[in-house]
């Protein structure tokens, strides 16, 4: 079998070399039957060119079309037909090139054996091509699969990093470090909050729908930690009636919105900040509104950060709609509203 390391150009020359050897061999055989070199050479060349054409044809066919397990019969038929055409073509062309009666008789007698050798050669070519291309195909599939796996791994890694939020984590640990000295009880409480929050983040499955009340509970852990960090600067208002606490939404969907609100609220102003989260049922939708103060003078007008774009993308992937998230900016208040259709 041909080794797969061969480059296409090498393969091509190999093919040409085989053709030349074939032609040489034929010439020699015909000459050994007592014909002059001119006739023998013509015989060899014409036969080889026709055969090469047939081989090229079958090879090309197999490149674009890999026969399934059941269609080897088809392939066999193809080889037979091609061998037939080759032989007939040879029979048709030769009289134009040579008029020796003895040679004509020789051809008539050797047609069967010519057909057989042609068939064998074409069949051999078909077999090699098939193995070659199926191997290429296999390699290609393998490559694609490993690429897809790598992509998935990268995405997973990215998600993990996002979930861990190094900035938040290290700052929280620093706060705990401070509390240990003079308020050990609060330090202990904060460790528990941080652990619960991290555990909740890690075990959450993106695909899952969870009740709003669960999601808010998880967010509360996060907000409580931030309140310890930022002391009196941060206030939160969460309102959601009992009815809408049962409404379902994709897990971890609100987290980036609230992070964004905190980030803009706390880092865009120096005053006291109130972040509010409100849940409502509107018809068949769960509507969640997140508000934070911001400074229109210094905020980048492009406004929607990576977090918000991620939320929009997720909503699109889940519900195939682009109108489920909107943002408003007025009176120094930034509002993000998301709608989650309730499937009942």
């Amino acid at each position: 079998m041909v080794t797969p390391q061969l480059s296409p150009s090498k393969l091509y020359s190999l093919f040409v070399a085989c053709g030349l050897i074939w032609a040489g061999l034929l010439t020699y055989i015909v000459h050994s039957f007592g014909f002059i070199w001119y006739i023998a050479l013509t015989d060899g060349i014409v036969n080889s060119i026709l055969l090469a054409a047939a081989c090229w044809l079958i090879n090309n066919n197999l490149r674009y079309y890999q026969p399934g397990k059941g269609s080897y019969m088809n392939l066999l038929m193809w080889c037979l037909v091609l061998a037939g055409i080759c032989t007939a073509g040879f029979r048709g062309i030769i009289p134009y090139l040579s008029s020796s009666q003895a040679y004509m008789n020789f051809i008539a007698n050797s047609l069967t054996i010519r057909f057989c050798t042609n068939f064998l050669a074409i069949g051999w070519m078909a077999m090699i091509s098939m193995l070659w291309y199926s191997q290429l195909d296999h390699k290609e599939t393998e490559k694609r699969r490993s690429e897809a796996e790598k992509l998935a791994r990268d995405a997973e890694l990215y998600n993990l990093r996002q979930q861990l939020q190094p900035h938040f984590l290290f700052n929280s640990l620093n706060s705990i470090n401070a509390l240990i000295g003079f308020k050990p009880d609060e330090a202990r409480r904060m460790i528990h909050q941080l652990s619960d929050f991290l555990r909740g983040t890690l075990k959450k499955d993106d695909q899952l729908l969870v009740p709003l009340s669960d999601e808010l509970q998880h967010l509360n852990l996060y907000l409580d930690i931030e309140k310890v960090r930022f002391g009196h600067r941060l206030d939160t208002e969460i309102s959601c009636d009992k009815h809408c606490g049962e409404a379902l939404l994709p897990s971890m969907l609100l987290q980036p919105l609230v992070e964004n609100a905190i980030k803009f609220g706390l880092y865009d102003t120096t005053e006291k900040v109130t972040v509010s989260i409100r849940g409502e049922i509107d018809g068949n939708n769960l509507v969640v509104m997140v508000q934070n103060p911001y400074d229109p003078q210094t905020s980048r007008p492009k406004g929607t950060g990576f977090g918000l774009r991620g939320v929009q993308r997720r909503l699109y992937l889940l519900f195939a709609r682009n109108d489920l998230m909107e943002t408003h900016q007025n009176d120094n208040i930034f509002t993000t509203i998301i709608k989650i259709p309730q499937v009942i």
Partner: protein
């Protein structure tokens, strides 16, 4: 006795520094704690401290932006939780920094290092300036220019900038509302601003290409760029080549 400030927006983070500093009460005195860069700036001007503990991520203006506005920067020990870019810059310029949460041992080392080298504050200041120049080219710093007008701090989003003009040791930043002086070099701004939107067309001028309405030939080998505001900016021979490159003409 060294005089110090602690600038961090998280009260608990300041508390850690104060607690760790108790060991050094006879060498370092904390004058004030500051909640953000504005307070920090005011306190630095008021007290002229020898040393500041400075958080990087703070509201409105970050630690680096605050330092840019300080005329005579004191020695700085940066404290930060996580900022890959800043950490690289600290390492490159051998400025001391503490990664939160830091241990008492690590903190003591930083203090001891500071106390040992403090006779040469000029060198420290130079290092800090180099650091600020390095940080200026970080992607996060591309978006705004922080300037001081009198006692107030003004944050100019870069999209509001029309052009910059060299002015002795300063650079004037021109916006629709007026111009602001910043104690930086043209090279600093050339580094900092996104080259897709800002071109240095002349030794003394950088313009926002969106502001250009037309370019007229002027004297031999030079041109004049006319901006939307009506300002006429000289364009040198090499500046014209750069401008053509960015505009794709």
């Amino acid at each position: 006795m060294k005089r110090a400030l602690v600038i961090d927006d998280e009260p608990l983070a300041r508390m850690v520094v104060l607690e760790y500093l108790q060991q050094f009460t006879d060498q370092i005195e904390v004058l004030q704690e500051c909640n953000d860069g504005f307070e920090g700036l005011k306190a630095i001007q008021q007290h002229q401290p020898d040393l500041i503990f400075l958080d990087v991520q703070m509201p409105k203006i970050n630690g680096f932006e605050m330092l840019e506005l300080v005329e005579q920067a004191p020695s700085v020990i940066f404290t930060t939780a996580f900022d890959e870019y800043a950490i690289k810059a600290f390492e490159a310029h051998a400025v001391d920094y503490l990664l939160k949460p830091f241990s008492k041992d690590r903190f003591n080392k930083a203090i001891e290092k500071y106390l040992a080298q403090s006779p040469a504050p000029a060198q420290q200041t130079k290092k800090t300036e180099e650091l600020l120049d390095a940080v200026a080219s970080s992607p996060a710093q591309h978006e705004r220019i922080v300037v001081k007008t009198g006692t107030k701090v003004k944050i100019i989003p870069v999209q509001d900038v029309q052009y910059l003009q060299a002015d002795d040791d300063y650079v004037s930043v021109f916006t629709q509302e007026g111009s602001y002086l910043k104690n930086k070099t043209m090279n600093f701004f050339e580094q900092m601003l996104d080259p897709r939107y800002f071109v240095r067309v002349h030794r003394s001028y950088i313009i926002a290409i969106q502001q250009i309405t037309r370019i007229d030939p002027y004297e031999k080998d030079s041109h004049l760029a006319i901006l939307k505001s009506g300002a006429k900016i000289p364009v040198s021979k090499s500046g014209y080549v750069k401008l053509k490159g960015v505009l794709g003409i």
